[in-house]
Amino acid sequence: MEYFLQQLINGVTLGSIYGLIAIGYTMVYGIIGMINFAHGDIFMVGAFISLILIVTLGVTASMPLALLILALIAILIVSMALTSVWGWTVERIAYRPLRGSFRLAPLITAIGASIVLQNFVQISQGARNKPLQPLIPGGFTLSEGAGESGFIVQLSYSQILIIVVTTVLMIGFTTLINKTSLGRAQRSCEQDRKMASLLGINVDRTISLTFVMGASLASVAGLMFLIYYGVIDFYIGFLAGVKAFTAAVLGGIGSLPGAMLGGLLIGLIETFWSGYFSVEYKDVAAFSILAIVLIFMPEGLLGKPEVEKV
């Protein structure tokens, strides 16, 4: 039981990170029907920008708590801004000119953008692992190991931070999409771009903003990943990206709640698989899910509901 609880906590934490990245995949797919393969690398760049800022500003765990929180928020904002610029730029130069071209064309440039980003970081930052001293050490011990298994269950402060930040962001983001004018514009473009433009919506701008929103959420995930694991390299975007993509497909690509749910499930599946079967095959487990979902349930768990009359 204690072991199970620990896996659950770890799984939800990891799932939060996947969920944040998955939103970017699902929203871009929803609006232009394209898998943005460079999205995982935006997550990676977000982690790197955060790391560089943390090191340059000399942020450490020994700082007063208030100052540490302020510094992290500032870093988050800068990192979100920079990755947003990148997301916007990629859309502008690599995808928009190909809109209306055959469907594979932007997919190929997406892979190109991903390679460019990975190689740029590899060359400019080096290929070695980049470690970071734990910024938020400590946590609660939920079970002292008194049970028969003698297993100690811990909930670290960094896990709490990740789960809380993710929850807040997802609530905020869902509200943005469902209740605001920008969200309505986004959804209208997703459902019928031509009609949206006939109602005066600037479709190009809305698509750009979708990329910006996805990129900023991915950069939050990047900072979370860095704080949680304490080590990053230029290649983390690929694996995390493909897993978040799996999460988006599992939840139903194009569906916002689906991306969140899918992220959570993939995080849990991966963690439980590692905990009960084998760590070596955790990626196999995650990708088997992708294959199974694509074969048996291509619309995903929450994909496009409701029968539509034509």
Binding site: Q191, L198, L199, E306
Partner: protein, 243 residues
């Protein structure tokens, strides 16, 4: 604005889809306060003209003036912010938005300060929409979707309403309701209407003036009454008419 200047002025417009020519030099005007209809067979280019006015696709030659301003090269979303609204062919309701959200989308970029007032007017015209305001657009019947498409276009408080085949596929009773609503909007609210229709009889009866399009060209024009009385119009477009 001088009295002689038309609200919408289409001058010698040609439109191509790739290498295929769809409009071959169309001239047409709509004056403020008029209902003008464009009739013609399927594939004549009526909807193409409607969409070319909205800049999607853009005219390959010729020019389009709205309220004296050349809008030929403007992107669609900027044209649609100029008090022009369209209820397009096929209605194009946002299927996964509620009726109310669909209506709000119509007012979104128009800077309409009185959204509540416009909503009330829309519900007055089509009470069914009020009953169904929280239902998803995709679940409405064809007639209700058509009402919603027109109501959504009205939410921006347009001066010029472009209506593409509002009667398509609808029961006669609903068609009558919709045409009555168009007449009311024109008479009571002073709305200028450009109506594309295959249902030539109803359209010509409703309109002040009409144009006939064949193969991407305007072949006839005149008042609604004149066109209704013409033998060639009767033969080509009003076979079994009067329904």
């Amino acid at each position: 604005m001088s009295a002689s200047q038309p609200l919408l002025d289409v001058r010698n417009v040609e439109t191509h889809y790739g290498k295929i020519i769809a409009l071959r030099g169309v001239d047409m005007t709509v004056n403020e306060g008029e209902i003008v209809t464009l009739i013609g067979a399927n594939g004549a280019g009526k909807s193409t003209l409607m969409m070319t006015i909205c800049g999607s696709p853009q005219a390959s030659s010729g020019s389009i003036f709205y309220d004296g301003e050349d809008i030929t090269r403007l992107p669609t979303h900027l044209i649609m912010r100029k008090s022009i609204a369209q209820s397009p062919e096929g209605r194009r309701i946002f299927p996964r938005m509620s009726v109310l959200e669909n209506l709000i989308m119509g007012a979104e970029t128009a800077g309409n300060k009185d959204v509540e007032g416009s909503l009330k007017r829309a519900y007055d015209l089509f009470p069914r929409l009020k009953e169904r305001r929280n239902q998803r657009g995709g679940t409405l019947s064809g007639g209700e979707q058509q009402m919603l498409a027109i109501a959504r276009a009205l939410m921006s408080k347009p001066r010029l309403l472009l209506l593409d085949e509002p009667s398509l596929g609808l029961a006669p009773l609903i068609v009558k309701q919709i045409f009555d609503a168009i007449r009311d909007l024109n008479r009571q609210d002073g709305l200028t209407v450009f109506l594309v229709e295959q249902n030539a009889y109803h359209a010509l009866k409703l309109a002040h003036r009409g144009y006939v399009m064949v193969n991407g060209k305007i072949t006839m024009s005149g008042t609604g009454k004149e066109l209704l009385a013409r033998e060639d119009v009767k033969a080509a477009y009003l076979e079994g008419g009067g329904h």
